[in-house]
Symmetry: C2
Subunit: 87 residues, 2 copies
């Protein structure tokens, strides 16, 4: 299954969420992740995300496509690397 995952979190929780998501998907930029993942691993990732996030404040969107598809990507403006914030 192909997914694009985007989170919008309180800055206090971004570091933990970034670390978690990078174990399952390819970090693209900022709070955007992409990649192939099995339904069972996505379920595990979702459960772990729920333990980190505050569901009354934070939000996560997951776009899913059941087949393996190739989406190409264009970046306009700055290519942000969230790791900059932690270095």
């Amino acid at each position: 299954m192909y997914v694009i995952l985007i989170y919008d979190m309180d800055s206090k929780r971004v570091g933990k969420m970034l670390k978690l998501c990078r174990q399952y998907l390819n970090w693209i930029q900022n709070s955007v992740f992409e990649g192939e993942i099995s339904p069972s691993r996505l379920k595990k990732l979702s459960a772990k995300m729920k333990m980190i996030m505050n569901e009354d404040y934070d939000s996560i969107i997951i776009f899913k496509h059941r087949q393996k598809i190739e989406m190409n990507r264009e970046v306009i403006g700055v290519e942000r690397n969230p790791l900059d914030k932690f270095l």
Copy 2:
């Protein structure tokens, strides 16, 4: 062509960008848009976005798929409506 567009802008410019993107794509949540768009309209949108954004500070990612595909969506946590910020 199917696209998912995500922007990360200085809050001063978000209102204008939101208004622009909503003329071309379906607003999903926060700074995330999705939909079918022709290459020529996407080109027009990109040109207009560049007039609004500061390319040294803001960033936009556009995922594209040349065919019409259906991606389903899951939201975890808060379903944010950016219009809340302007009401």
